[in-house]
Symmetry: D2
Amino acid sequence: MTQITLDELNRMDRSAFVAALGEVFEHAPWVAETASGARPFANLNALYEAMTTAVRNAGHDRQMTLIKAHPDLAGKAAREGAITDDSKLEQSSAGLDRLSEDEFAAFHRLNDAYHAKFDIPFIVSVRRHGKDSIMRQFEQRLKNDGATERDAALGEIFRIVALRLALRVAAPDRLRVHGVLSTHVLDTHGGRPASGVAIEFLEIASSGTSRLILRTITNADGRTDRPLIANEPIPIAQYELRFNVGEYFARHGTPVTDPPFLGIIPIRFAVADPEAHYHVPIIVTPWSYSTYRGS
Amino acid sequence: MTQITLDELNRMDRSAFVAALGEVFEHAPWVAETASGARPFANLNALYEAMTTAVRNAGHDRQMTLIKAHPDLAGKAAREGAITDDSKLEQSSAGLDRLSEDEFAAFHRLNDAYHAKFDIPFIVSVRRHGKDSIMRQFEQRLKNDGATERDAALGEIFRIVALRLALRVAAPDRLRVHGVLSTHVLDTHGGRPASGVAIEFLEIASSGTSRLILRTITNADGRTDRPLIANEPIPIAQYELRFNVGEYFARHGTPVTDPPFLGIIPIRFAVADPEAHYHVPIIVTPWSYSTYRGS
Amino acid sequence: MTQITLDELNRMDRSAFVAALGEVFEHAPWVAETASGARPFANLNALYEAMTTAVRNAGHDRQMTLIKAHPDLAGKAAREGAITDDSKLEQSSAGLDRLSEDEFAAFHRLNDAYHAKFDIPFIVSVRRHGKDSIMRQFEQRLKNDGATERDAALGEIFRIVALRLALRVAAPDRLRVHGVLSTHVLDTHGGRPASGVAIEFLEIASSGTSRLILRTITNADGRTDRPLIANEPIPIAQYELRFNVGEYFARHGTPVTDPPFLGIIPIRFAVADPEAHYHVPIIVTPWSYSTYRGS
Amino acid sequence: MTQITLDELNRMDRSAFVAALGEVFEHAPWVAETASGARPFANLNALYEAMTTAVRNAGHDRQMTLIKAHPDLAGKAAREGAITDDSKLEQSSAGLDRLSEDEFAAFHRLNDAYHAKFDIPFIVSVRRHGKDSIMRQFEQRLKNDGATERDAALGEIFRIVALRLALRVAAPDRLRVHGVLSTHVLDTHGGRPASGVAIEFLEIASSGTSRLILRTITNADGRTDRPLIANEPIPIAQYELRFNVGEYFARHGTPVTDPPFLGIIPIRFAVADPEAHYHVPIIVTPWSYSTYRGS
């Protein structure tokens, strides 16, 4: 997506501004219109504040209309394409566009129960969640009362909007919407960063099935050239890093047994805070390793 | 199996002795007969030495006859039951009695190649190996020349015999045929052994499939009441211990995130020395862990 | 000290029993006399219970007389030898017989303040404390009221008595009066216990001065042949273990820098529970180490 | 020292250039004169190369004269001030200006032995060494033959010169003359960087005496605001970091014993490569810690 600068947004006329940001709030260009009057914005956080304040100050009816304008998760509208492009991309990011029939049925049931209780669609910032986490959210929020749940829906809409703004607008400051997941391999047998260690990074579903996210390799500094995840939220989910240290030590002629005590080291962990920095390194010898959540 | 004491073996007449130990060497009661003359034996190692010396001193032909008296691994004789009870149990321990058709075919091909090259059955002490390891042994030993391989076959027969003697004879000393695999969980968040941690212990095949060996739980000392493996060789294979520390810390009210950073910790390692002590503990907090091969 | 068996104590006449155990409570043979009537004792804990119960049931005056029969810590009586042999040995164990003039003066001041407030000598089971810890006890207990402090004094007397009984009487059971301090060195560079590592074990005073307790060396199992402390309480104090791993890795030809990154590794820790098991191992490579309180 | 830019050096006339850099080689302005002709220098490394090449290409006699122009370490000239300002600062950095009488005598003896054997002063880049390391250098180099030792002396002169150039000249590139020593404290009890941990950083002499280099404290990221050493070589020596984790955990209300198992954690290590990055962190709970050489 080509980004527009904050400066351009500040200088363009009202209708161009609304054209540029009108779809940031799903089917609710009036939010951009209201915020438009508060220009110029000193930074991206100010723009975000102006837009969310416009929603907070709108009456109950307008808020409900805004909420109801959102598509069901993995719903019929999504299947039939009647949602914004943003929504399409977001739902696909959590794998909601490739549910099994069983999972689709489960979502359907939860959607029905949710509609019956709250009369609004279930809204969640899907980029911040894996599939399991969305299910848990669904189940937990079904226990809320109506007022709590309306606030929860608005809160999720604001998270969605923050991500859309971060994607669309180039600005000197940043919204706190991105996490970082990084790793490092330190070889304390040789006393050096371990370079050339092959790494697989997977998401592990509660069902036990795993999905390969990426393959990479450590560089001379024992790190990966790019973080495993950056410039986006880290979906709340369970992950596994698999480090091929057996191959690494064999390549360096380190004396080991046959087969080596350590071959592939799996490190399984969960992310609970999508906007945080998770540093998950290993410190390894042919006979031992340790890991921790660093920062 | 009811054990016989070394003392009884020393005192019985020759024919009873041969009846008791004749099948220790597969279809070769003459070994027991020869060893019989060296009685009394001060200990089990002396008995083992006498029997293996009898084989070493027998001529080439008798050795070849002994070797050829062994059944093929996972072979037709095994399928049809025409092997000693010891052999049956041994082959079943490595899972050779429940091969897939593909695996059976692979064994068949290797057996044929081996027979064609050496004109003897492939002999290996299967209790010391997982299925993958037997395959690797097969492939490596196919590269030997005939004399080396005859020695290898005798060496494996001696290992088989040592295990059979250890099972059959009660003696004050022990043959070095058993390994120990143990674990421990230390909670350095609370500063105490972690009790009540559920553990799964699995064998992991190179194909990626896993086989649950046992489920257990740590006691007040952070250990398991019995070692994971003891009183037998630890088969050369890859294993995984899975420690449910997420549940443990939740039970103790330790503050963690939702989901917790660490839930199930998998520790994957391989055993290369079946007669050794492998101690594979974890030292754990809600945010870190380390493991090592202890002893 | 030659031990007397519980059995002998149970069978001897009353006066012999009192002769044997009369001095266990400092200058108070009446405690042994009272307990004598409760014989036979099934085990050592029962004997201990009978003696302490006799004191608990004695009236206030007898308790105060018992308390006042105790010598001052590092006091004039101790300097002049007018205390029981047990007391002499106990005071020497904490180094109270070799105080500097300043320390002697500090004890004197605290003793005076304590006498002035409570009109009893300050009693503490000195075998359970280093010099610093005794000072802290002194300062903390000076804040008590009279009744609390009388109970504290009796509690300490009971601890002293338990240790004296454990020393004097051979029985099938044990009083919980002993701690264990042990260590271990695991070399995860070589994948084996580190044998031949020279260890110094010191007590570190808050003043920064250190006192060498013992020198030892690890055996083939990476442990010391005997625990660093056993069969006595571990005095509440700060300690340091110094492991000469530089020399160890040099001896094994492990490649290191000159000078090696790790030479002497100091592990400083404090003991708070004299009757507990403190296991303080290191897991070490030429480039890393870790330690923890195990058990 | 006010820096001069490489650009200015490139543009000034020859005599100004020699005035600016003439003392970089001790009492040998001819080196700057020779190098002057090779201007302009693309970067600082090129200037350094030109100057050292000038020395390498000078004949044996000029090299010997250059070597002999250097003062003795801790010698009479130094005591009497007859050395360049650079030399004064350098000798003081290693503590050579505050030797005990015994140490002065030892240096004197080594100087005499060195002069007698090689007829040149002993030259070493003192900024790269602690006092112990200089002594070891002295002893090792006394074993060299004359040619080897002349090369060693020139090598040390070049190291001295590189440091002087780095100090004096502002350039876009850097000479590899600086090391970095950094630390980090990670609290895996709380799952966060440990902020507010007081740290003492000391040099530990082989005699056991220690010299406080600096006191600092960890910031919100668990690091120190500035590295412990940067922008200079890390002298080859033994160091100790002392982390006050007892106070840290007490401040956070973490439940610990009295006294806490861990109070001050001493990490003792040696630096062998003055131009390297040594990262020496601790990962700590109230019951455990680990450290390693990172990078």
